[in-house]
């Protein structure tokens, strides 16, 4: 799948010195191709996560259009867009994002169960194996470490083998060894045909990237 952004920008209402709007993402074009791993780096507050949320269909741009193949995301009704996100876009949000009333395996199977579909447990187990957390499949999130929870979020995002994978700081707070496991996995996913976009602070991420961008005060520039 191809993710394409045309002249998108995002402004938020905020009382400033000379204006009442704040530009989080300045007008930009972007394309994410299947099988490539792209990283966006930048300081906190530079607009990276805003951009990622727009790509995920969670935040409507102030201007411009985002296409998933030939579908304009924000021209779709909410139910249609949500279903499309469920089927084709995997997202690893910032922080700990487990549902604490479900076990790790149930959390991972959520993209299926949310729509009443039968989860492919074998796929889930393979993902858990690959991320080295299969022994925790029946553990509750409250029993897991930060790194284990993050790997759970990655497995959950990959559960439906999405065409697009968007990862927001997937390795923050992780030790070097786990960071390596995560980046290797994401690279492997790209190698298998998924279009992977990672927002990160990690300089090491460049070693895995096919292309890298830098975000500075809402402006996206190729490195």
């Amino acid at each position: 799948m191809i993710l394409k952004a045309e002249k998108i920008s995002k402004e938020f209402p905020r009382q400033m010195k000379n204006a009442n709007r704040f530009t989080a993402v300045q007008e930009t074009d972007f394309r994410l191709n299947p099988g490539e791993l792209v990283i966006i780096m930048g300081r906190s507050g530079s607009g990276k996560s805003t951009l990622l949320n727009m790509f995920a269909g969670l935040l409507q741009p102030t201007a411009g259009k985002i296409f998933l193949d030939d579908k304009s995301l924000y021209d779709l009704e909410d139910q249609e867009l949500s279903k499309l996100r469920n089927q084709h876009i995997g997202m690893i949000p910032q922080g700990q994002t487990a549902l604490y009333s479900l076990t790790m395996l149930e959390n991972i199977c959520l993209p299926y169960t949310l729509y009443g579909e039968e989860p492919h447990e074998a796929d889930a187990c393979a993902l858990l194996d690959r991320l080295e957390i299969s022994h925790l499949r029946n553990a509750m999130p409250s029993e897991l470490s930060g790194g284990e929870l993050r790997r759970m979020a990655i497995a959950r995002a990959m559960m439906k083998k999405p065409g697009i994978l968007l990862a927001d700081e997937p390795t923050s707070d992780l030790d070097d060894e786990t960071t390596k496991i995560v980046f290797s996995f994401l690279k492997e996913s790209a190698h298998n045909g998924t279009a992977v976009l990672i927002v990160t602070h990690e300089n090491d991420a460049k070693n895995y990237a096919d292309r890298s961008f830098r975000m500075n005060a809402g402006m996206l520039c190729q490195d």
Partner: protein, 401 residues
Amino acid sequence: MRLSKSLPFRNLAGKPIRTAILILLTALLSLTVFGGTLMITSLKTGLHSLEDRLGADIMVVPYEATTKANLENIVLQGNTGYFYMDTARLEKIQSREGIGQISAQFYLASANSGCCTIPVQIIGYDPDTDFTISPWIKKSYRNTLQKYDIVVGNDLNAFVGDTLKFYGVECHVAAKLDKTGTSFDTTVFTNADTIKALIQSSLDLHLNTFQNIDPDKVVSCVLINADEEHTPEEIVNDINLHVKKVKAIQTKEMISGVSDSLAGVSNVISILIIAVWLLGIMILLLAFTMSVNERKKEFAVLRVLGASRKKLAGIVMQEACITAFSGSTGGICIGLLIMIPFNNLIEEQLHLPFLLPDVSQLIVYIISAVILSVLTGMISASVSAFRISRIDTGLILRGDN
């Protein structure tokens, strides 16, 4: 159960204290509404039952009965007592104009001593003229009562075939009446022949406060229905004016005090229901808002995974529905556990007729209370459901870091 369907259950089970508080709140709401409604209905049913049981427009009693062994205390409060007047007065009353139906009754209270099995009010009626008690007794006993046959009220601890002794006379329980929710539930009914024999026996044993009476020449009260051309008020005035030493009372007036008390109790309960309901809605609104705010991030994650705004709102509404249904079921069960076993105690404490509605009516009240509680829970949760369906996913997820 599929996880998609059980997710609201799992969310609720994951936070047992919060869920228990929500269930308790809805239980309190449904208990108040169901219990209150049942109380008001039972009082109204009791009053109607009392009206039916009195069954006459007018009661005429010896004048002293209105002050001494007060008639209202006997009929309405379940106290025991008796009074008599000469049959000559019955004949005088019979001769007045406007009387459609007329029948005498005989009162006797059994003594709280060895001569009597239980201390109760005994009412005797004349089967030839009676128009109030016979139709009611016929519902439980189709045959004619023979001498020394008695029919017992529903609350008395006696059953068909038992023998009860009053003033040394053994009487056979021929039937047990249906519950009326009135003082008649603790009364024994019999025909004129039997009660005259009992009165004579009480006189013989010197256990009757009236010593110089002939049971064949006295009656306790006279019940009258007006004919079509006269109003009960006209007849009451006529009797009070022309027949000495008696007091004619309209039964409607006699139960007006009960009716007023019932209206008072009903108003208090209604106000309580409304107050608790409004307070409950506000607390539930707050509780659901807090509960959803606390889990904003979980909802944001579901949105990331592809949940539509409608689906998020649906999860909140399902949780509200489950808690409200569980709470209302619990509240109703508590209500039934209070009202059914303790309905006699409630009747005694309120000093008002109290008759629980029949099973079919009770089922209607139960279903209505459940529907009302679930609706209230869902209305309270709808604000939170709407808010959660409008969440800014990006902002919530970023707020974590």
